[in-house]
Amino acid sequence: MILKSLRGVALLLVVLFFMFPIFWIVVMSLQTNAEILSLPPKLIFPPTLMNYTALITGHLKTSVGTLNIAFMHNLWNSFLLSALSVIVALVLGVPAAYAFARYKFRLGEDMAFTLLSLKFAPPLLVLLPLSLEFQRVGLDNTYIGLIWIYQLITLPLILWIVRGYFEDASPDIEYAYRVDGHSWLKGFLKIAIPLARPGIAAAVVLSIIPTLAIALYAQRWLVEGLSLGAVKG
C-alpha cells in the first residue's frame, strides 16, 4: 500500500516536471501582456485569443502601437523547407539504403559510415565553412542552399533507419518476383519499398517533427525507428 502510493507520488512529480512548462506556455498564450507580467502568476483570468489572431493577421496591437509579425510567412517557409528537404532526402536516400542493405560492395560499409558520421559530426564544423562558401557562390539565403544543408540531418537518418528495414525484409520475395520476369526496378518499387514502408515513415516523421505526433498512432514504428532497428517487437 505504501509502495503503491509512493509510486503514485513519484509519477505525479514526473508528470509535473515534464508537463508543467508546456501547460504554462499554453496558459501564457491565452493571457494579455499585462497578465503575463503580473506577480503572483494568475491562474484565473479571462482567456483571450488576441495573441493567436495577431499571429494570423500579422499585426499585434499593443498600447504603444502596432507590432508587425511575419509569422505566417515564417510558418510557410518552415513547411516548404522541411517538405522539400525530406523529399530530396527520400529520393537520394532510399535507393542508397537499398544498395547498402542488399549488396556487399566494396566501400559500401565505408560510405555508409561516412554518411552516418556526418550526422554525428559537430554541425558547426560543416556550417561555418559552408557559410563562407555559400557567400562566395551566392547560395546564401536561398532555398537550395538550405535544403542542401538539411541533407546533413535528414539523409543519414533516412539512410540508416530505412537500411535496417531493407535488411530485415528477406530478399527471396524480390528474387521470386524477378524470376517471374519482372524487371529489377519493378521489384524495387513493388516489393522492396512497400516492405520497408514502416521504416521510411518513421524516418520521414523523425526528420520533420521530432517524435510526438506519430507516437499517438504509430508508437511501435517510432520506437523501432528511434532505436535504429535494434528493438524486436
Binding site: 504554462w24 503572483p40 554525428f120 510526438l212 508508437q219 520506437v223
Partner: protein, 309 residues
C-alpha cells in the same frame, strides 16, 4: 542451355551479383555526391584550422601548421571549455539516464494510464531545444517567471538561475534533462517491455528479492539499450549548442562556454576562422571516437537480435 552459357548475365543467382555489379554504385551515387558537397566544407575546415586566418585581416592569412592547436592547448580558456563541456555532458547524461530508467520502471506495466503518461512525457522531446530554452527563460525570469516566483517563495531569494555563474550550469542541465530524458525513457521502456518474461516468472516462483531481480536480471538484460541510449546522448551532449546559446550564449562570463559556443563566438565575434576551426576539429575527434563506438555497438546489437530471432 546454350543461352546461359553464352550470356552469363542471365544467371541471377546471388554469387554472380557479387562480382562488379554497377547497380549498387549507381543507387548510392546521388546520395554520395550530395554528401561530398557537404564533405568539402569539412576539408576546408581542416585546412582553415592549420592557418592563421582572421576575416578582419584577410591579407594576413598564412599557413601555420599545428600552431592553432598549440595555442589552444596552452591556453587556460580552452581547457576551461573542455572542462565545462565535460561537466555538461557527464552531469546531464548521468541524471537523464537515472531519471529515464526510473520513469521507465514506473511505467513498465502495460496499463492504459501508463501508456497515456508515456506518450504525454514525449511532449518535451517534440519541442525544439531553442524553443525549450525560451520557455524556461520565460519561466525563470526574475521579474515575472513562475519558477523564479516559486523558488523565491520557498526562501531561496538569491537564486539567479541562468544569470548567475553559480547556478547557470544547474539551469541548463535542468533544461537538457527536461528535453532529453523522454528520449532515454522511451528507449528503455521499449527495452523493458521487450524482455522475455520467463526469467522474471522463475525468479518470482523462487521468491528472489526484488533488489536481486533488478541488479542480476533486469539491469544486465537491459544493458544493450542503456548503452545505446547513453552513447547517443553523450554524442549530442558534448556538442550541445542550442540550449546553452538560447539561455545565456555561453555566459555569464565564460561559465558555459562549451565547445560549439566557443567556436561560434570565435568565428562570428572574433572573426578568427583559424582558431574556431581548430576548436571544432578537437570536438570532431571526440565525437568521431564516440560515434565509432556507437556504430560498433549498434552492429553488435543487430547481430545479437538476428541470432536470437
Amino acid at each position: 542451355m546454350n543461352d546461359i552459357a553464352t550470356h552469363p548475365e542471365l544467371i541471377t543467382a546471388k554469387p554472380a551479383r557479387r562480382r562488379a555489379n554497377p547497380l549498387p554504385y549507381l543507387l548510392s551515387l546521388p546520395a554520395l555526391i550530395v554528401c561530398i558537397g557537404i564533405l568539402i566544407p569539412f576539408f576546408t575546415a581542416v585546412w582553415y584550422s592549420l592557418e592563421s586566418y582572421n576575416m578582419a585581416f584577410p591579407t594576413g592569412r598564412h599557413f601555420v601548421g599545428i600552431g592553432n592547436y598549440i595555442d589552444l592547448f596552452s591556453s587556460g580558456t580552452f581547457w576551461h571549455t573542455i572542462v565545462v563541456s565535460m561537466v555538461y555532458m557527464g552531469a546531464s547524461v548521468i541524471f537523464e539516464l537515472l531519471l529515464g530508467l526510473g520513469i521507465a520502471l514506473l511505467l513498465r506495466e502495460r496499463s492504459k494510464l501508463n501508456n497515456i503518461i508515456s506518450v504525454a512525457l514525449l511532449m518535451p522531446l517534440m519541442v525544439a531545444p531553442v524553443i525549450a530554452s525560451l520557455i524556461w527563460k520565460l519561466m525563470t525570469n526574475p521579474n515575472f517567471g513562475v519558477y523564479a516566483w516559486i523558488v523565491n517563495g520557498l526562501g531561496f531569494t538569491n537564486f539567479g538561475w541562468a544569470s548567475s555563474p553559480d547556478t547557470a550550469m544547474f539551469t541548463v542541465i535542468l533544461i537538457d534533462m527536461w528535453v532529453n530524458t523522454p528520449f532515454i525513457m522511451i528507449l528503455l521502456l521499449a527495452g523493458l517491455r521487450s524482455l522475455p518474461t520467463q526469467p522474471f516468472e522463475a525468479a518470482k516462483l523462487d521468491g528472489v528479492p526484488a533488489r536481486f531481480v533488478f541488479f542480476r536480471i533486469t539491469l544486465p538484460m537491459l544493458m544493450p539499450y542503456i548503452i545505446t541510449a547513453t552513447l547517443f546522448r553523450l554524442l549530442s551532449a558534448i556538442q550541445e549548442f542550442s540550449i546553452v546559446y538560447g539561455m545565456t550564449q555561453g555566459g555569464p562570463g565564460d561559465s558555459l562556454m562549451v565547445f560549439q559556443i566557443r567556436s561560434y563566438i570565435d568565428f562570428y565575434q572574433n572573426t578568427n576562422v583559424g582558431r574556431s576551426s581548430a576548436i571544432l576539429m578537437v570536438l570532431w575527434a571526440i565525437t568521431f571516437g564516440l560515434s565509432k563506438l556507437f556504430v560498433n555497438q549498434w552492429h553488435a546489437m543487430r547481430e545479437r537480435s538476428k541470432a536470437g530471432a
